[in-house]
Symmetry: C3
Subunit: 360 residues, 3 copies
């Protein structure tokens, strides 16, 4: 149980009413019980608040808490930022401390103070794990892997050879870091190469020797500080230099980052997005859900790629891109609107002179 005073202090926010009132958690306004803090950070939520039973709420700055029937309120100008602080306050560590006796830890691994290791986790020879890092059950850490301080590596994560991970990195269940890149070559030019060079023809011949020869991945992965990687996502090893994820970048679930890719700092890669081999993303790039970036491309700083869009060529800095192939969002929207008008126009056309277009 936390008092309203304690929460307001943690949030650096103004509070009014009975600051000694205690809550055990947070809830949506309509379903909050009297011992939960209702989250009503915009006027839209006022109605739900009236229907719920909350005595205290997190409110938008101008809210009239007394008129809303509350005993106490905390006022926040940027609600979601307050939610970040509030939920951190209310949460507890997902991974327990201690080293489970069933874990198989190579005697040559170096575990700093307060490292936690879950049941059935395997830590290879020469792995180095920083202070306070907690590793869940069923995790595989290859020989030689380095993980910084304060990390959380959840159940079922696989970390391959030649991977270095910075401080305060969170990796969610079943993510795979440092698997081999998908890099193959045929003896003679392959279908992929032919398709690119003979695009205009739209057809390609059979190949005499279609055997794919494997290029091994020797470069590993380098992950910066404060990175988060979602459940089931994969970051492949580079060929002769590391695949890189910059500081502060957050990666959602089922995202694929291919070999040799460089992702900048403070990027956001949403669910099921992907970056193909050797492409480079600048800093603060946002990939919407299911967005894709083709191989060997450069995407500038501050680019936002909207959900389900596909990047087939380089993108200058600061652009908002949409579509498949993606273009500047304003051009895309314009083309799309024109396309939606097109069927009617073609009907008018085939019916004769369109309205307002006489042969004057």
């Amino acid at each position: 149980m936390l008092t309203i005073a304690r929460i307001a202090e943690a949030l650096g926010a103004r509070a009014e009413g009975d600051l000694s009132l205690s809550v055990r958690g947070a809830a949506e306004p309509g379903s909050a019980s009297p011992d939960e803090l209702a989250i009503a950070i915009a006027p839209d939520w006022a109605g739900d608040l009236a229907r719920g039973r909350a005595r205290a709420a997190l409110l938008w700055p101008e809210a009239d808490w007394q008129a809303l029937g509350l005993d106490a309120a905390i006022f926040v100008p940027r609600g979601r930022l307050a939610m970040a602080r509030l939920t951190a306050l209310l949460d507890e560590p997902a991974l327990p401390p201690g080293i489970h006796p069933s874990a198989v830890i190579d005697p040559g691994a170096e575990l700093a103070e307060d490292v936690a290791i879950g049941a059935f986790t395997v830590v290879g020879a020469g792995a180095v794990i920083g202070p306070g890092t907690r590793i869940g059950p069923h995790v595989t850490i290859a020989p030689g892997v380095r993980i910084g301080a304060g990390g959380q590596i959840h159940a079922g994560v696989r970390i391959g050879r030649r991977v270095t991970i910075g401080r305060s990195v969170i990796i969610h269940p079943n993510a795979v870091i440092g698997a081999d890149g998908f890099s193959f070559v045929t003896a003679a030019p392959s279908h992929v190469e032919l398709a690119r060079s003979r695009m205009a023809e739209g057809e390609i011949p059979a190949l005499e020797d279609p055997t794919w020869h494997r290029i091994h991945s020797l470069g590993g992965v380098e992950i910066g500080d404060d990175v988060e990687i979602g459940a089931g996502s994969t970051v492949d090893a580079g060929t002769i230099r590391p695949t890189r994820i910059g500081d502060g970048t957050k990666i959602d679930n089922l995202v694929m980052v291919a070999h040799n890719v460089v992702v900048g700092r403070h990027c956001l890669l949403c669910g099921q997005s992907g970056v193909a081999g050797s492409s480079v993303l600048g800093d603060r790039v946002v990939l919407g859900g299911k967005a894709g970036v083709g191989d060997n491309l450069v995407v500038g700083d501050d680019v936002v790629i909207t959900g389900a869009s596909a990047i087939h060529s380089n993108v200058p800095r600061g652009r908002v891109m949409m579509g498949n192939p993606a273009t500047r969002i304003d051009l895309h929207v314009e083309s799309y609107k024109a396309l939606r008008r097109l069927p009617r126009l073609l009907r008018e056309w085939s019916a004769g002179v369109p309205k307002g277009r006489g042969a004057d």
Copy 2:
């Protein structure tokens, strides 16, 4: 070995010929051996049946089994429904009974009668598992998780904190339920917010403080009865209330259901589809393979979204939607056909007055 009489009874279907004939399994008509039941539920399969060696077959209602050279036949009006019953009859449990001695089960977990637990599985304190539920090897079940009766949790599944699962739920290998949601906020308006508000301009400036602050996920996941979740799929925890999957909903492989999403009852989410944060799907919604639903949207009951389509705005009930951005399928097809005609029309245009469009 099962007799034709026994199978026909289980299927509630009419059978003719030698009903005492026994088969050991089912096969396609062309490759069936004499002790396999050939599956020829539509006239298309008649030719293959003649080439195979089956003595008995599952046939469409009007089939002339004797002319097809069979000794026995079972007639089914809706072949795939019969296949559901037949394959259930021929299958055996994928997960064995019993509790493997290597499993790490917290003494505070409550296991009902006949619960099976595979090798190296971890069950946390306070977890409650219903009667007859079978859990495979290498599974991680967090403290406090509740799983109903008659479930099957396959190898490598990760079930996080605050997850409740109903009766008769099947979760396939390496799926992740209840990982943290992907929810971040910057101190000042972020690129994502700017891109939405300044869409017309198509460009966004750099951000002074690009740090992403993490909103913790306290809400968990609630999964109804008779739900199935495919291999490698992820269902993230909600922020302050559960992410919800309704009764009877089936989810394929590599699907992502983000935090706070509500999926209705009897939905079908096909492979690699995804639903972004806080969106709501009604009952009986179908997402085709690779289909995506953006965040904070509402999709009505009985909506069908075709494969590889992307939903960027709310969808009223009963619509069939196609494209990216998706529209009603008939409008999409019309626009698409117009687009395919466009290059020729533009060529005609630039060549002079189009056919049938004289300056009369």
Copy 3:
């Protein structure tokens, strides 16, 4: 450390300069240290080479190695093919030999000579594993699975019942082979069936009994020789015959191959691509990243589907396909260019007679 002479011999390539010079690895030209072989297989890299400290390099055939300031050089006409050989030479096995004492191997499993099994791996009764195959930690192998010689099965892979795997197959972490297919049927025609038959109307009614009945998967999976399957990918079991992956086919990360699918030989399925149920891909087919193939389709030999494209109908052999729905790439590019011109044309149109189109 390897001498230049030794490397040139392994590559079957011409070398010049001090062939006794030794290197410990390969690096990009700009970051290579004096004991690394710089990889500069095209003239583009010449500038970087000058900035780096390499004494030896892998070069394009016409390169003037002495002018580039090197002591030794190896010349390769097809650089990436040389990279395949070079990286294989420089790599070492990812999985160690030996059987870890913690593994749970059923006494009824047959392990050939030199099979390696990692910590906490489970091998079921009747499984047969060929000579030299190495299996990582945390792997689940169901009863009766057959794996050929010389394979590598990485950490966290799940191999289900009725799966047969050929020789020299590599499966990357957390891939799932042989999970149940996604196959459901309603008692009366379902939304999916209605949407297909009533496409023109774009709306579908509610369904009286929306229960999805499960069709069990009895057919397993058959994987040929020299196949590679990426991290987190899934290949589902067939219904009454195996899902098949042909010899020499390479599958990237987070790819989904659904039940009953047949993938030919020497195909390349790039990251996050997917093939829906019962579709057939010919030999040497390439699916670009995020490309999708709908269900029950036939894609001919030598077809290339570009990244983020979606196939909604059969494709004849040799085609290069692009778009959603995908068409021949040349037609797609033509339509797309016309679409980009359309907004301006519509503006001209509404402004009056377009340029060069007087009523003459």
